[in-house]
Point group: C2
DNA sequence: AGGTTGCATCAACGAACGTCAATACAAGCC
DNA sequence: GGCTTGTATTGACGTTCGTTGATGCAACCT
């Protein structure tokens, strides 16, 4: 089950850490980044991710997340799947329950991408 | 025209720089952040933002961006509007042409939000 | 004034998204 | 085995999104 995420953040390929302002961005990298940002662009998924990331142990059981929302269980499962396909989280079944945790590398690369290389115009 | 952006990044309110893993995130902040991430979650808007951010002068005329895409002019205008409403860019009319630039504070706050406060579980 | 160019807005269409009830699958318990 | 609980998948629905042609507005130029 945990083999399904798409390795969306291009960390094995060539352009590892280009940054928003470095260049006009090639199409493939744009598509990957857009997918991750789209996964973050929903309040429910953002709360889910925050709920997982803020946990001390780093892992949260689905049985704890589902009742925290006013949504059905399939809906929560669907949002978790999208976060996983974006490469932001991963999961593992442990007996009856399934636990999710954050893949910190994905978040760090996103943060690095968004960080402007100092004041624009200084290099002119 | 440039008064229309929504000041989406909550920099004037209380919780300025909480971070993903600090707490379960209150609803209002989640909605604001989701809106910004959703604005970034489209390949066209990501390319537009990169095109603006990578410019030395920091400003790009719409007349330069529109022909760079295989899309109609209203579509580009629409995407620029969404980026502006998300608080990521701003614009100004100068004679016949309209110039766009990046609001770096928005990107920096997003990056800070995504940066994990070191290894989860260390604070336990 | 009239004409032209650059950009935004409007109205409408198909596609993608978020949600749910129903169902299926996995694991434990009797 | 059958029953119960936890989670994922399916199929369907209404809503939102991305795109377009048509139109409107602003600024320049004769």
């Amino acid at each position: 089950m945990s083999k399904q995420e798409l390795e969306v953040i291009g960390q094995g390929a060539d352009g590892c850490c280009d940054g928003l302002a470095s260049a006009p961005l090639d199409d493939e990298r744009v598509a990957q980044l857009a997918k991750v940002f789209k996964a973050l662009g929903d309040p429910v998924r953002l709360r889910l991710l925050s709920m997982i990331a803020s946990r001390e142990g780093g892992e949260v059981c689905v049985c704890e997340m589902t009742p925290a929302f006013d949504l059905s269980q399939p809906t929560i499962s669907h949002h978790l799947k999208l976060l996983r396909q974006a490469g932001l989280i991963d999961c593992e079944r442990r007996g009856t329950w399934v636990y999710y945790w954050v893949l910190p590398g994905a978040l760090d690369q996103l943060a690095a991408f968004l960080t402007m290389p100092q004041t624009a115009g200084a290099t002119a």
